[in-house]
């Protein structure tokens, strides 16, 4: 049992949970949440891949990649949420008519 093994499997599990959510969730917000879980899962795998048993330093390249992935994901999330807000508003306006 080493941390990389534990967290690597955690990452894969989180990715799979997100995948189920993204495929099954009906609520629009929850689908965004599920996708975000997937991205954290992928981040886990990259961070684990970079890990070297101490005292060796981890590989910095995957760390940079995960940071990039996090920023990309927040951008995508923001756009998806803006679409949700817009769509909900349009639907609510239609209901009023």
């Amino acid at each position: 049992m080493t941390p990389d093994l534990i967290y690597g499997l955690t990452g894969i599990a989180v990715f799979a949970i997100g995948l189920v959510g993204a495929l099954c969730a009906q609520d629009r917000l929850r689908r965004v949440l599920a996708l975000k879980l997937c991205s954290v899962g992928a981040g886990f795998v990259l961070v684990v891949a970079a890990w070297r048993s101490p005292p060796a330093d981890p590989d910095p390249v995957p760390h940079a990649l995960v940071i990039t992935g996090i920023v990309v994901m927040v951008s995508a999330t923001a756009v998806a949420l803006a679409l949700i807000r817009r769509l909900q508003t349009l639907e609510a306006e239609d209901d009023d008519d």
Partner: protein, 326 residues
């Protein structure tokens, strides 16, 4: 000692998975978001355990903090437009058709098989296997900075980072476009305690954000983490109504959004020539150039993230939909 650490790892891993499941299954959407935020923070903790403090900082600040704020804002807006603003638990805000349990189980079984395959592939792969370690160690002296992650982000793989800033720019343009003319949900009344809190913490956040940026060349931190912390200033200003976006500020905001990508790409191009290619900083100026890029990118990130939180482009009050401009 090792056993205690492994026990901690197992507990943490278990809670991360449990929180992931809980945030997708709990019925109240507000609770789901809160659980997600806790999930993100614990993931960041796990990444600290895996000696990835930069990633943990970024995940805590951006992946969890900013994302959580975006989710909560959206939830607030959805409650507003569906007329459920004052109600307690937030359930079923978006129209849903019941999913047959069979479909869910089929999907879960499908994903379970994928997980099994991935887990087997993961177990079969070399751990602590080959990597960039040696290459990075060799190239570090020429990178201009002392922190490997910053060197990778701003020098070795600067092209990726530039495109990441471009993704942020694309996001803010898309969000402005999508939400233009959308009416705003009334801001929640936060009270005087909140105002005092905002006034008290604002300067501290500015200091922390700048410190993270500055420190990034030698220690964990950098443009993205610093930018996200500074974006919190924007969130506080917006939430406490100290700053209300005005149509007249749009020009300035546009410049702030493009500042990071423009300056980054500009520097990358300007250093080329004389036998150098784009992104190849002259060794003697590498540190200064990287710091310059990081500083400008930080400003851009902070403004962009705050704008993503605010959402719609501020247009002159009631205009006929989509007709009027500037």
């Amino acid at each position: 000692m090792t056993d205690a650490a492994i026990l901690f790892d197992l507990l943490l891993a278990g809670s991360v998975i449990a929180l992931a499941i809980a945030s997708l299954t709990v019925r109240d959407m507000f609770a789901a978001i809160v659980l997600f935020v806790i999930f993100g923070l614990l993931s960041a903790l796990a990444w600290v355990r895996l000696s990835a403090p930069d990633v943990a900082l970024a995940e805590a600040a951006i992946g969890t903090g900013v994302t959580g704020a975006l989710l909560l804002k959206t939830l607030h807006h959805l409650r507003y437009v569906t007329g459920k603003l004052g109600e307690g638990p937030a359930r079923g805000l978006t129209p849903t058709a019941p999913v047959p349990a069979g479909v869910i189980w089929a999907n879960a079984a499908f994903c379970g098989m994928i997980t099994l395959g991935l887990a087997l592939a993961f177990l079969g792969a070399p751990r602590s296997g080959p990597g960039f370690d040696a290459l990075v160690a060799e190239a570090m002296p020429a990178s201009g900075v002392d922190h490997p992650v910053t060197a990778v982000l701003l020098n070795f793989r600067a092209y990726d980072t530039l495109m990441e800033v471009v993704v942020l720019l694309a996001a803010v343009i898309a969000v402005w476009q999508i939400e233009r003319g959308l009416s705003d949900a009334p801001a929640p009344a936060l009270g005087e305690v909140w105002q005092g809190f905002a006034r008290l913490t604002l300067p501290a956040i500015v200091v922390v954000g700048t410190y993270l940026l500055w420190k990034g060349s030698e220690a964990p931190g950098g443009a993205f983490q610093g930018g996200a912390v500074l974006a919190a200033v924007g969130l506080l200003l917006l939430l406490s109504r100290i700053y209300v976006p005005q149509p007249a500020h749009r020009g300035l905001a546009r410049w702030a959004f493009v500042l990071g990508a423009g300056a980054f790409a500009g520097v990358a191009l300007l250093v080329s020539g004389g036998g150098r290619v784009a992104f190849e900083y002259p060794a003697e100026h590498a540190y200064a150039l990287i710091l310059l890029i990081e500083g400008l990118v930080t400003i851009s990130i902070a403004v962009t993230l705050a704008a993503l939180f605010h959402g719609r482009e501020p247009v002159a009050a009631p205009v006929p939909e989509g007709r009027n401009d500037t």
